[in-house]
Amino acid sequence: MTPDTAGDWQPVATLDVLRLRARILERLRAFFSERAVLEVETPVFSSAAATDPALSSFTTHYTGPLFPRGHDFYCHTSPEFPMKRLLAAGSGSIYQVCKVFRNGESGRIHNPEFTLLEWYRVGFDHRQLMDETAVLVTAVLAGHRSLATPEKLTYREAFERHCGIDPHTADHRALAGAITRHGIQTDLEFGHEDPDVLRDLLLTHVIEPNLGRGRITLLYDYPVSQAALARVRPDNPPVAERFELYLDGIELANGFHELADAGEQQRRFEHDLQRRAASGLPAVPLDARLLSALRAGLPECAGVALGIDRLVMLAAGAKNLREVIAFPTDCA
């Protein structure tokens, strides 16, 4: 203990908010218990890491029995891969509440470690899971917030409505034009950026503030380039069967109609690793056990991850994640 932090022992969140947090976790567990979804636990430490270039994993080192000469582990950024291994092993629908860790993320609605609720529904597609996610959020917020019927908006509709462009066909010039029209001042050199960076700029600066106003907004059917772990539907243009849930302009959940094709998953991992290399990001070991599980057969399913701290924040009427976390990272 250093002298300048010695007096800094009190929790940041009030005890009332911590009680609310506990009640919300009880409600969540009751929600899944009623639906016969099994609670599971998977490891925080893994020999493999998330390959997504937008995610940076914490690493740690173990030395002892099993690895007498030491071994590097990655702290999970989400429990997705081992949960899919359980699904492939025949677990049926499952959920987990756990701490996850993302390096480099801190701000008003980010803390480097946070609590995630992740669940998988066997036999669901992303549309069915979107509905269930909205039901869950509405149930948890009942008594705290009165919400109108949820709104569903495709990624394309959101861009057409708020930016006046079709995100699937817009080129650099059209995306840059929309960014300029909306008065976003930035040093980005549009011509050198990945179009997804420009889409993310419009999404975060122009569209998100309009989402989840007085009701839940479900944004779905993303560009294929943002599929992550979602399956792609061969429409014209093809779209990724992915969704996000917004309330008060804040992204609460991200879900997929899960990709089950091991070959396609391997290609996406390798594509991620190429993008990491191109951006000068460290290479990470990809999860070969997930690929084996997919080869053995992942049941048709949809999965979603929901940020519990953000959900508690909205239930409490708080404006900053710090208000709902007992000890945010700078006080940990």
Partner: protein, 187 residues
């Protein structure tokens, strides 16, 4: 010159923006769950006082601005420059009218001011929070009125005009708040 990344940005940090020195006012981390992280930053241009809003990709950098605040004594105004002295080093600096701006009307010889230097040149001048100045012109007060209600304008030796209670007379010394431009009390 050193550079700062978006991770360093916090209120008060001095950076170069569009060729001018600026001070970070606010830095918001924005990141979609699966996608590019940005920092939405508000920076005050220290030359114009205007707030600039700018979005950076997280990890981008800005050059540091060589901006320091130094307490200095006001010496005199030669009509073109306001001259200040660092009482620690006896080093003298001339600030032009743009740098002094509206502060000029509070500047009295010997008073300690905060001078913001950019690359060693005065960029702006902050007067002391309270100053004691002599009234050079005000209407005669109403006899017997000591309530202080109502008030009247009074011109001070440095040129500032403040509202003072009716009982305050020409030639008196008064204390003023330079931030609000208000009379505080007799000195």
């Amino acid at each position: 010159m050193a550079t700062y990344s978006t991770n360093d940005f916090k209120a008060g940090l001095k950076v170069m923006i569009d060729g001018s020195p600026g001070a970070v006012v606010e830095n918001e981390f924005v990141k979609p769950g699966k996608g590019q992280a940005f920092n939405r930053v508000k920076i005050r241009n220290l030359k114009t006082g205007r707030i600039i809003e700018r979005t950076f990709k997280s990890g981008d950098t800005l050059e540091a601005a060589d901006v320091v605040d130094v307490e200095m004594q006001f010496l005199y105004n030669d009509g073109e420059f306001f001259h200040f002295m660092n009482p620690g080093t006896y080093e003298q600096f001339g600030a032009d009218k743009t740098a002094v701006g509206d502060t000029a009307k509070w500047l009295k010889e010997q008073d300690l001011c905060t001078i913001t230097l950019w690359n060693g040149v005065p960029l702006s001048v902050e007067p002391p929070h309270t100053v004691t100045l002599k009234i050079v012109e005000t209407d005669p007060g109403v006899r017997g009125d000591t309530s202080g209600g109502g008030g009247k304008p009074a011109t001070l030796e440095t040129g500032a005009v403040v509202r003072v209670p009716l009982f305050i007379q020409n030639g008196e010394l008064i204390k003023c708040n330079t931030r609000t431009g208000e009379y505080i009390s007799r000195a």
